[in-house]
């Protein structure tokens, strides 16, 4: 693998689509102009588990303007094993809010009203939606999930944790929990589906047009070439738009029943809470054993989460733990409980965001138990090689991030005593935590480069820009790969008309797509040199290349690292919590575009605050649904909650990760924030909160 020389990379370029977005010219899925659309609205189950015993659609069908009412009786039979996509295929209900019927009508208002007139009778069964009742030891519903990423096994073990714990001078053994989080992208899940003789055209909001194409083609027994998926702009996704879900299949079904007519479908905010996935709640136990000098002898991390009965999804919360600290005895274990709930899905830093809250809170507890500064404790446990893979790191700068952060944050002035600082009725504390995220490369991308004789390059790849700035950053990568100026590059993405691409996720976009573009650029240069004497022929030259395998994967462990700092204020009398200051220092390889990268990291840190203090989907155990299913009730940090947020990174030159030297910046910003804030809350108040979110009632003096 050769690396490319940064010229465009590293420039803080404005977003290429920024002006269009600001002027409202960038079209999102639902805004795509279509002729004579029909509208779709779903009917959702009101029981959590059971069987449909009758559906009366007569009243709905009789409404003027209603075109069709779909139920499991008349919906097309699908061919898919994916339980989430098997919409309207049987009389079984697997979670409250599952789609049990749908109305297609001339207007969205008619569709919505008619949907409320569809009468569905159920024979309900007793449901189980309570993760808290699922404790190991009583494990009928619990099992070890399948691997999410082949590199990271669900169970790891080395040495003898129990023996090491028994003989450890200092021990921490605590249970931490994180709640059910809902994504709430600004743009809800939307689709415009049209069925013609050629097949489906789907305009939708997605993180991966290729994956949607494959999912829909399979479900409807079509050739992928009969499904065109277009997604030029996406208004946020955060993982919730990676996998195709019921909404897309339902829209396609509806389009099939009104051939030639585009069917428009936008979920309401309330519907997104049950239909688009969520970060599953976790219950985690962390055990740390150490000598009195703080050197770890044992690390053990176990997590229980939930999945649905339709499909397994596991957030691998214990994934980061084996990459963090040296200890001769280590174990991680991951379980999922199958409950009568919707299927969870990917949410920013799936695994690390929840898991590192537990591990990094426990590290703080250990530092206090050892009487050590928490940064010093982490430095003492810095491993020489990857503790689990036993490979050197391609680059690892956790300690540099901690030290640089400490310097910038003013950490050395800190008095570690809890409740030591007070100002005008507010207790003040500071906290620190480490962050990490693996460098991942997703399979399945190809890039085409078309060079023309005028020195322009069209770069085609079915990647998507979910609002992160991918379009701009990938243009910079292409410019450097082709040793051209940014102005010479015409990058086209967001359409299955272009070569297939892996989904936007796992902070792997630039790595997966950029590596394909670099490979194509390499081949283009070679072809030009060997066959065309170094100049582009008059009719141009086109090359397509795959994302290559990374030959260094067997030699190096590849991870980003970071350090998160937070200052919190807790009101002595009311327990109100404010976070006036957050500071993050990250080591994520080369930064392609400092402007968009900063936004990614800053957004992650802001979300980390929101996850720590505000967000929580409240489940009603009796009904089995999220009760606070709108933005007035599901609290996301408001502007007034976010204080000064400082984002820094250190220069890191890693020739092993990919030709660009990038590690990805999408996820790591959120990792560790919750622990830094919880640790700061402890420092301020002397109260350790192990269950997120940290709300004022948990800190209120009696």
């Amino acid at each position: 693998m050769s690396t490319i020389t940064p010229r465009a990379m590293g420039q803080a370029l404005d977003r290429l689509d920024g002006a269009d977005k600001v002027r409202g010219l960038a079209r999102y899925a639902f805004e795509h102009p279509v002729d004579h659309p029909a509208y779709l609205f779903p009917v959702q189950s009101t029981v959590a588990v059971g069987r449909i015993t009758g559906i009366d659609r007569s009243q709905a069908s009789a409404q003027p303007g209603v075109l069709a009412v779909l139920t499991y009786h008349n919906a097309p039979r699908l061919s898919t094993e994916d339980g989430e996509l098997r919409v309207l295929q049987s009389d079984e209900v697997a979670f409250r809010g599952q789609i049990v019927a749908a109305v297609i009508a001339e207007t969205s208002e008619i569709a919505r009203h008619a949907a409320s007139l569809v009468r569905v009778d159920y024979e309900g069964r007793t449901h189980n939606v309570d993760l808290r009742a699922e404790v190991p030891g009583h494990r009928e519903h619990l099992r070890v999930p399948n691997e999410v990423l082949p590199l990271f096994p669900m169970d790891t073990a080395e040495g003898d944790v129990d023996a090491a714990m028994a003989s450890a001078a200092v021990r921490v053994d605590e249970v931490y929990s994180t709640p059910w989080y809902t994504h709430n992208a600004l743009e809800p899940h939307t689709t415009i589906a049209c069925w013609t003789e050629e097949g489906f055209t789907l305009h939708l909001s997605t993180q991966g047009v290729t994956g949607i194409q494959a999912g829909v083609a399979q479900a409807f027994r079509l050739d992928p070439s009969q499904v065109r998926v277009i997604s030029p702009h996406v208004g946020g996704a955060f993982g919730s738009k990676v996998y195709p879900r019921a909404d897309v299949v339902l829209a396609a079904m509806a389009a099939r029943s009104v051939p030639g007519r585009p069917v428009k479908f936008a979920l309401t905010r309330q519907q997104t809470f049950s239909l688009t996935g969520y970060r599953p709640p976790t219950i985690q136990r962390v055990r740390l054993g150490a000598g009195s000098d703080g050197r770890l002898t044992a690390i053990d991390h176990r997590s229980i989460e939930q999945t649905s009965k339709l499909k397994e999804f596991a957030e691998h919360s214990t994934r980061a733990t084996p990459s963090m600290y040296a200890a001769p005895n280590r174990g991680t274990q991951q379980w999922v409980a199958e409950l009568d709930v919707p299927t969870p899905t990917i949410m920013r830093a799936p695994g690390e965001a929840s898991g590192m809250f537990a591990l990094e809170s426990a590290m703080d507890e250990l530092a206090i138990a050892c009487g050590l500064d928490p940064i010093e404790l982490r430095i003492r446990n810095e491993p020489d090689t990857h503790p689990h893979f036993h490979l050197p790191f391609s680059s690892r700068n956790l300690v540099t991030c901690l030290r640089e952060g400490a310097r910038r944050f003013g950490w050395e002035r800190r008095d570690p005593t809890p409740r030591a600082r007070r100002e005008g009725g507010w207790l003040i504390g500071t906290g620190v935590a480490a962050a990490t995220y693996p460098v991942l490369r997703l399979p399945g991308s190809k890039a085409t480069i078309r060079a023309d004789a005028n020195g322009r390059y069209a770069v085609l790849i079915a990647a998507v820009d979910i609002g992160t700035g991918t379009r701009t950053a990938l243009t910079q990568v292409a410019a450097d790969a082709l040793q051209a100026d940014v102005e010479q590059i015409d990058l086209r993405l967001g359409d299955t008309a272009y070569p297939p691409a892996a989904e936007e996720g796992a902070s792997a976009g630039i790595t997966s797509w950029g590596a394909a573009i670099c490979a194509a650029a390499d081949q283009l240069r070679q072809r030009l040199a060997t066959e065309h004497g170094g100049t582009v022929p008059a009719d141009g030259l086109e090359i397509t290349a795959d994302t290559p395998e990374n030959e260094y994967l067997k030699q190096y462990a590849m991870h980003s690292f970071g350090a998160q700092f937070a200052e919190v204020r807790v009101h002595e009398e009311t327990g109100e919590i404010r976070v006036p200051r957050q500071l993050g220092v990250f080591a994520c390889g080369r930064i392609v575009n400092p402007k968009t990268a900063r936004s990614q990291l800053l957004g992650g840190m802001a979300w980390g605050l929101s996850m720590s203090l505000h967000e929580q989907s409240v489940l009603d155990l009796r009904f089995g649904h999220v009760v606070n299913h709108d933005l007035a009730q599901y609290h996301i940090s408001s502007n007034a909650d976010i204080g000064a947020v400082e984002v820094h990174w250190i220069e890191e030159d890693d020739p092993y990760v990919n030709p660009m030297g990038t590690k990805g910046v999408g996820e790591i910003g959120i990792v560790g924030v919750a622990a830094a804030i919880a640790n700061a809350v402890y420092h301020a108040t002397g109260i350790r909160i192990r269950d997120l979110p940290i709300t004022l009632d948990k800190l209120l003096p009696g």
Partner: protein, 329 residues
């Protein structure tokens, strides 16, 4: 589609007459609550009589030294009004702590008082709720009730009234002027909202078709220094867990007069009469404030999920009064 008629009248009596004929009709102010509830299928009026521009949009000084607020005054305008800010700062603070700038621009004073509870089950037609459908049961008592009431609840309903403005008005002894099919009347703010009892579907004592035309504030010199303190789950744009509106008149360390009201604790804005009585004529100090708060909250009957509101309300009241004594810290 669920259709409804939309009407505008040229006079208040015309508007009242329109609704008198329509048992399922409703007045429309800014629509920021009513229209939301219509979308959720919680409210199903067949007639909307738009009164936003019909009622006065002015804040006027009254000859007795009080102030009259037209029912159509927007929340933003009311919060910014110089007279209000000077004489009743708690009222302006209450408004600014509520909703968002956009909502406040649209919301009217009368609509604010008559907004409906934010109990999540009330807003979700797939769950039982006595307030929405009498007799179906209360989902909140054994369910999610973190934000709900601790005082004056009934076995039928534990909802809270969400308005911040109403809490300040109750503390200030405001009165509401109405015009209804049976003529005009004046209702003290303390009596406008009800406790749920056996009829949680009735938020207020207003009769169908009774139009709020204005809100009158009596003069209260010591309210020129008054506070509204709102405790909520995030720093902005959230309904209250607990609020306290307070003004206190202390001379030589003795409480001459005091006004205290709680929000977020009951089906109505809760005037702390017991606490006020205990404090009036006695010394002003933290211990006294605390005892008064405890006396007021002695009747609290919290549920498992909102017991924290009792100490929260107490501490917030004590802190607000101390801040009034000492100046804010």
């Amino acid at each position: 589609m669920r259709t409804f008629r939309y009407e505008r009248a040229s006079t208040t009596s015309g508007a009242v007459a329109l609704l008198a004929e329509a048992p399922h009709g409703a007045f429309l102010g800014g629509g920021t609550n009513l229209v939301d509830l219509m979308k959720l299928d919680v409210a199903r009026p067949d007639l909307l009589v738009d009164v936003r521009r019909l009622t006065s949009d002015r804040v006027e000084e009254l000859s007795n030294g009080g102030v009259r607020i037209g029912a159509g005054v927007s929340n933003s305008q009311l919060a910014a009004d110089p007279l209000i800010r000077r004489r009743y700062p708690m009222l302006s603070q209450a408004l600014l702590s509520g909703a968002s700038g956009q909502l406040r621009n649209l919301a009217t004073a009368a609509g604010n008082l008559l907004q409906r509870t934010r109990c999540p089950y009330f807003q979700d037609v797939t769950t039982p709720c006595n307030k929405r459908e009498p007799g179906t049961g209360c989902s909140a008592i054994e369910g999610h009730h973190r934000d709900l009431a601790i005082l004056g609840t009934s076995p039928e309903c534990v909802a809270t009234h969400p308005s911040d403005l109403a809490v300040a008005l109750v503390a200030l002894d405001a009165v509401v002027r109405t015009e209804g099919p049976d003529g005009e009347r004046v209702i003290p703010m303390t009596e406008l909202h009800r406790l749920p009892g056996a009829e949680p579907q009735r938020d207020t004592v207003l009769r169908h078709g009774e139009l709020i035309t204005a809100i009158d504030l009596p003069p209260l010199a010591f309210a020129a220094c008054s506070y509204f303190r709102k405790i909520r789950d995030r720093a902005s744009y959230a309904f209250a867990l607990v609020t306290v509106a307070a003004a206190i008149d202390v001379v030589d360390g003795v409480v001459r007069d005091v006004r205290i009201a709680f929000g977020g604790v009951a089906h109505k804005p809760w005037r702390a009469i017991k606490a006020e009585e205990l404090l009036r004529g006695g010394p002003a100090g933290e211990d006294q404030f605390r005892r008064a708060a405890e006396a007021e909250l002695a009747d609290a009957r919290p549920l498992a999920g909102n017991a924290f509101k009792v100490p929260l309300a107490r501490n917030t009241m004590v802190r607000t009064l101390l801040d009034l004594l000492e100046g804010p810290r």
